[in-house]
Structures are given as C-alpha cells and as structure tokens.
C-alpha cells in the first residue's frame, strides 16, 4: 500500500510538473534533457557567480542543465572552438562586431521564436536593435556597462582640496595640479591576456566622441573614416601624451603595460593614495577588494569623463549580447529566459551593471548603477564601444596598436597598421584548420 503511494507519486508528480511547465511556456519539453546547454562567457570571479545564480531557478524549473564556461581569453577561445566545429550553444559576446562576423558565416543562428518574443516584450526597440544584422536579430543584449566614468577617491580629493572637473580642460588642469603636488594623477593599466589594450581603446573612443563628434565616430566604426584620419589621430595623440608620460601615470610604462587591467585601482586605494584618477567603466565595481565602499562619501566614487563644454557629456556603453549557435528548442528557451526581467533582476542584484530592459524595477540598484543610469539618461549622445563594433581582427589590431603606442611606438606607423587590419585577410587564413 505504502509502496503503491510512493510509486504513484514518483510517476505522477513529474508528469504533472511537465504538464504545468508546458502550460506555462508553449515550447515543447526538451526531448533529450540530459544534453546540457553550454553557455560561454568572459565573466569571471563574482561575475561568474552572479551568472550561476541567474540560471539556478531556471534549471530547477525546466530541468534543462545549463553549463557555464567562462574564459578570460574569450575571443581567442571562442574562435578556436568555433573553428574546430565545437561551438558552445550560447555565447555572451562583449563585441557585437565579432557576433556579426560569425552570423555572416552562418555560425551564429538567428534568435528562436521564444527569445525573439521576449526581446520584443522587454526591451526598448533601439536597444533591441543592437543584436540586429540586415533585418535579422541574432543577439539579445543582456548586460550594459557604462564606460565613460572616472573613478576617484573622494576623501583624498577633499583632503587635498581637489574638485571634480566639469570640462576636459579642467580635467587636464587637475591632473597637472596633482602632478605638481608630487603624485601621479592617473592610474592606468592595460594588460589583459589576449585582449590587452582595450582600456586604451576605450580612452581613444571617448576622446573621438568628445573632440571629433558623433558623426565621425559612426563613420569611423563603419570604416568610412580611417584610423589615419586626423580626426582619429588627434584624440589618439591626446591619450598617448598622458599614457606615455611617466609623471602623469602611476608607475610609468612598466606599471601601465605590466599590470592586470582591474588592478589599476590598487594604487588609488592605498593610503596615501598613489594616483587620483582612473578612467574605467562601472564594471570595475566587480573587481574591487572586499569591503571597498563605492559611494559619494565612500572609498571610491565616479564622475563622468567630461566633454569640452560643461554639461552632460556623451556616454560610451559596452555590454554583452547573448547569441545562439544552435537551434535546439532548449537553447531558445534559455535565451528567452536570459531576456526576461526575472533573470535580469537576479543578475543585477549580484553584479553591478545597468540592466538594459525597458520595463525594469530600479529600486534595488546600487548608488553606482543609479548614477550611471542617470548619466546615460542625461547624455546628449550614447554610443556602443567602437572597437567592439568593428570586426574582431580590427579590434585586435586596435588593442595591440594601443599597447605599442604606450610602449613608445610611433603614432602614425601604428595607426596605419591598425587601418590595414580592415583589409580582409587572405582566404586561406580564414578557413584554416
């Protein structure tokens, strides 16, 4: 009798759950739920833990096994797995340009019906269009990072009588004042394995947006304005003047080239502080030592990277596009979940970023995210990171070129080399292995 009840429960309850699940989502239950959905990303440390938490309720509810694999050398490793014919099921691309290349090759597939529906329901059409190529949507933006920020230590600013600059000239003046007081103003570090140099390309992009304008920026992204154009070369030179000046950057070129990107903040957190300014996006928040308080009166706070004129400056955004490599229904289901505010809320509660959803409860956002969102709302111009929009080979040339410039290479030579990367590579290189 008791055994009968147990058997009945074992048989009936899962069946019942299946039926309920089917009612909830019109997708057919995955036929082979033992095959996991592999999600590949570049998220490490606390950001990886946040993503694990995002998928926990989804896995419990649907029985789909989501396997998360993260790599610090995302582009190289993804390229290699794709070339070998073993792509993941979903990749979180920080570079829409890279995703588009793979979409053109037919490796990345168009969004399935469920993901497309979730995207339409939850996103502002302008944001949703980021994952679009020639009228077909391939990716869902799941995370937005605000890049045009300068981190600073409020207590040290107050103690030394420094004020948050409102214009580019004030920022340069502040840096000079700090230098004259005997400390390096800027914290800068660009090392990040295969992607070393992206911090410097972010600088240049922000300066192009401020000094050459949004039209030039857009044309530059589309290769209508070359890297060798004076409107790109001059902003690059402005950055190079700071980045190669051993009195302006902490630790000189040894520290700049040899230090891991997210460790650039370490000398700022020392007492007394060894550098006062760090141009870095809100993503830095996930890479701070435990117990660091990010607030206007905390250990660290941010101000917007200023424009030439006072007032809200343009904002540079980055983010991740989740795109499928497979058309299995459970992959579609997983992407649809990623596009839902439910997943976004769990994620945003654990990692600091501006959630890109149109319908969004902002009550739980931290001071940093609230401020970053406000800066984006007020910005006259918002643009996605240019190097991430360019094809991956150009992004790589751009990253590497900036490392060369910081190492003392000639600006015009390097810019000409980067521009050459736009030329399509020889056929046999593309199809290798």
């Amino acid at each position: 009798m008791a055994i009968g009840v147990v058997v009945a429960l074992v048989v009936v309850v899962p069946a019942l759950i299946d039926v309920l699940d089917d009612n909830e989502s019109p997708a057919p239950a995955p036929e082979d739920s033992t095959e996991p959905v592999v999600v590949f990303s570049e998220l490490l440390g606390s950001e990886a833990r946040a993503l694990e938490a995002v998928f926990a309720p989804f896995e419990a509810r649907t029985g789909i096994d989501v396997r998360l694999i993260s790599s610090g050398s995302f582009e190289t490793d993804l390229e290699r797995t794709v070339d070998l014919g073993f792509p993941p099921d979903i990749a979180l691309f920080p570079q829409p340009g890279f995703m588009e290349e793979l979409a053109e090759e037919g490796r990345v597939k168009p969004l399935g019906p469920l993901a497309a529906e979730a995207l339409a329901a939850n996103y502002d059409p302008a944001v949703a269009s980021l994952g679009e190529l020639d009228g077909t949507t391939y990716g869902v933006i799941v995370r937005a990072v605000v890049k045009s920020l300068v981190w600073y230590p409020p207590a040290a600013f107050e103690e030394d009588g420094y004020e948050v600059p409102a214009t580019w000239d004030e920022l340069v003046g502040l840096a000079d004042t700090i230098e004259q007081a005997g400390t390096s103003p800027w914290c800068l570090a660009v090392r990040d394995f295969d992607a070393s140099g992206w911090v410097a390309t972010d600088w240049v992009e922000d300066l192009v947006l401020r000094f050459s304008g949004v039209e030039v920026y857009d044309q530059w992204v589309d290769d209508e304005v070359p890297f060798t154009d004076v409107r790109i070369a001059l902003p690059t030179a402005r950055f190079a003047a700071i980045g190669t000046d051993p009195r302006q950057v902490h630790g000189g070129s040894g520290f700049v080239l040899g230090t891991y990107v997210w460790d650039a903040v370490d000398p700022m957190l020392r007492s007394p502080t060894d550098c006062y300014l760090l141009r870095q996006g809100d993503a830095q928040a996930a890479h701070l030592p435990g117990g660091t308080r990010v607030a206007p009166d905390g250990d660290l706070w941010v101000f917007p990277f200023p424009a030439r004129e006072p007032g809200p400056p343009p904002m540079l955004l980055g983010g991740q596009l989740a795109a499928p490599f497979d058309e299995r229904p459970e992959v579609d289901q997983t992407l649809a979940y990623l596009a839902s505010p439910e997943a976004g809320q769990i994620w945003a509660d654990r990692a600091e970023f501006v959630a890109p959803y149109a319908t969004w409860d902002t009550a739980g956002d931290s001071a940093l995210v609230t401020y970053a969102r406000q800066l984006v709302d007020e910005a006259p111009v918002v643009r996605f990171d240019a190097s991430d929009l360019m094809p991956l080979r150009v992004s790589r040339a751009f990253w590497a070129g900036m490392v060369d410039i910081l190492g003392g290479a000639r600006l015009d030579t390097v810019l000409a080399e980067i521009q050459q990367a736009w030329e399509p590579p020889p056929r046999d290189l593309i199809t290798a292995p």
């Binding site: 396997r67 610090g72 050398s73 490793d77 290699r80």
Partner: protein, 378 residues
C-alpha cells in the same frame, strides 16, 4: 594495606602532605560517593597491569625523577633552561636545513618530557602546588623554546630566505588526527617507562615518537619569517602533544597503580576533575585537528584530481605548482605549468575538473615557457 602505610613515610610527603591539601574535604563526601557506587572500582591499582600497585621504593624513585624540590630545584632549573635552549637551536637548525637526523637529535636532548610527566603525576595525585609548578615549568620551557627558535631563525635568516620552505618545517605545520593518536600512545608509554626502571631504555623512543621541541622551534621560525598561518599549525601540534601526553600519562599512572589506594580515596573528586579537565583538553585540540584533517584529505583529493585532469587536458604541460582550496562548495585552483608550447585553453581544464567534481571550479593558469639559451665565456 601495607602499601598505604609505607606511603606515609615516602620522601615526597615530608615536603608536601597531600592530607593538608585535602583537609577541606569532609570524609563524608567520599563515603557518599561509595554509597552511590561511583568510581567504586578505585583504587585502580588493583586493575594495574601487574594487578598490584607500585612498590613504595620504586614510587619514591619515580617521584624523585619527576619532581625537583628543595636543594635540587635551582640546579634543575638551570639544567632545564640550558637544555631547552640547546635542543631548540639544534631543532631549529635541523628544520631549516631540512635534516631529519639533526631534528631527531634535538628530540633526544629535549628536557620537556620530565615536567610534562610530572604534571600528569601531580594531576592524578591531586597535588595542586606541584601541578602548577610543573605547568609553569612546561609553559616557561615552551615560551623559551619559541623565543630561541625565533632568535635562531633571525640569526640564520639567509638560510631560508627566498627559498621554498623545507619539508621538515612544513611537516610540523599540518597536524592531523594521527598526531593525536601518536601522542596518546607515547604519553602512556612515557608514564609506563618512567615507572618501570627495567624499561627505561625505551624513554628516548618516547621522546622521538612525540616530538615537543621541533614544533616549538617551528612556531618561532614561522613567526620570524612572518608566516603566522604556519605558526598556528605548529602550535596546534605542540598543544596536541602536550594535552595528549598529560592525559594519557595521568591515566597510565592511575591504572598501573602509581596512586596508592588511600590517596586515591582522599580528594578523589579533585583528581577526577583533573583527569576530566585533561580529557577535555584532548577533546579541545581534537576539534581543530579534525578540521585540519578533513581539510588535508579534501585538498589531497583535489590535488590528485588536478594532476589527473592536467594530464588529460594537455599532456605537453608539466605542473610546476598547484595552489588549491575548497570553500563553500567551490574549488579554486591556481596552477602554474611549464611547457615548450602554449597550453590549451584554461577553460577546458576548468570544464574537465567541474565534470569530475560536480561543483563549480575557478582556475587561474600561469604558464612558464621552457626555453633555452646557450652561452660560452672563455
């Protein structure tokens, strides 16, 4: 019982009369215990290994060996201090030069076993003053040994600076439950040998089995080189040895009839309290030891898994260093490999490990390129 009569005239009681210390206890208390049948097996001398208590002359010899009082006190203390300093210097140098033989030599010179056995004897006899004097000697000796270890390390700092810490030293920083069992057996053996003169040739072995000075020297060295985390492990090893010897020796003294039955009846509750307290101390060191042991087993399993996984992941890479930890259901691995060609992507290693362990794995991979340069100078 003739034994108890002659006990009254034995040398120790002239100096220190247990009856005086026990004067506060009404005799009725003891009889009440008898009525309740608690500890009614005492005097445990009847359960002794030979079924009889220790002969009185043997007992006074043992007491002479363990307690130094009156005119014996000053020479004893200076001898003790000299041996502590010398044995610690030998131990510290043996540890720093990674020499097991020298370290064992230090164990034979070490004088700590005597006051520790004295502590046990005083505990089981209920002699408060002798107990505290012995405890003071042990703790003073321990403190002196740590200080000597510190000073020796400072003097010969260059020997271990910038190199990998010697295995002999590290071995003393990771105690586990086996050490506890060893110390209990050795403590019992120490007490037994002390009472049986014919077995006294075994005493050096006891000192080697349960080393007291090397862990203390390790504590001093680790403090000097700024590794408080390692000092903690070595201090735990010493505490384990100390608590276990005191407890096991006290129990052995009791069982083998070192305590005369009349004395056992007097102040019995105080002796039981002493025995219980020393048992509690053993339990107190067993708890962190269990944690250490579980951690060691866990880390060894993880290390083995990493070694296996690396072989499957990229056979061209040789492991140089593994630093691994498990916390909150998550393995964190810092791995340094060396090879002639760049390793395969680290995520594939993380993936392999995750599938084997069925828990999240964080991998940080450092790669050293094995390269070669040749040169000639003539």
């Amino acid at each position: 019982m003739s034994r108890s009569v002659s006990d009254g005239t034995s040398s120790d009681d002239a100096d220190h009369d247990p009856a005086t210390e026990d004067a506060g206890h009404p005799t009725g208390h003891d009889t009440a215990d008898h009525r309740l049948g608690l500890f009614s097996l005492a005097p445990a001398g009847h359960l002794g290994l030979r079924g009889r208590g220790l002969p009185p002359e043997e007992r006074s010899r043992v007491l002479d060996e363990l307690f130094y009082e009156g005119p014996d006190w000053r020479p004893y203390v200076s001898r003790f201090a000299v041996l502590i300093v010398l044995s610690t210097i030998i131990a510290a140098l043996g540890l720093m030069s990674d020499s097991a033989a020298v370290t064992i030599g230090a164990m034979l010179v070490a004088p700590l076993m005597t006051p520790i056995l004295a502590t046990s004897a005083a505990l089981i006899q209920g002699w408060a003053r002798r107990f505290w004097v012995s405890v003071a000697v042990v703790l003073g000796g321990a403190a002196g040994a740590i200080a000597t270890g510190f000073a020796t390390s400072q003097l010969f700092h260059a020997a271990i600076e910038g190199v990998q810490l010697p295995g002999e030293l590290l071995a003393r920083t990771q105690p586990n439950l086996l050490d506890l069992a060893i110390a209990i057996a050795a403590g019992a053996a120490g007490a037994y040998v002390t009472m049986r003169r014919e077995a006294s040739s075994a005493l050096p072995g006891v000192g080697i089995a349960v080393a007291l000075i090397p862990p203390l020297a390790t504590v001093g060295i680790c403090f000097e080189i700024g590794r408080a985390d390692l000092a903690e492990g070595a201090l735990l090893l010493f505490s384990t040895n100390l608590a276990c010897i005191v407890f096991a020796a006290a129990l052995t003294f009791l069982i083998t009839g070192f305590v005369p039955s009349i004395e056992w009846r007097q102040a019995r509750s105080r002796k039981i309290v002493g025995l219980v307290v020393s048992a509690l101390l053993v339990v107190a060191v067993a708890a962190p030891l269990a944690v250490y042991t579980i951690g060691q087993v866990r880390d060894q399993t993880l290390q083995r898994q990493v070694v296996d996984a690396v072989a499957d992941w990229d056979p061209n890479q040789e492991i140089v260093e593994i630093d691994s930890d498990v916390a909150d259901g998550r393995a964190t691995i810092e791995l340094t490999v060396m090879g002639e060609v760049a390793p395969l992507p680290a995520w594939r290693l993380a993936d392999l490990l995750q599938q084997r362990r069925q828990e999240p794995v964080d991998v940080t991979l450092f790669w050293l390129q094995r390269d070669r340069q040749e040169a000639v100078a003539s």
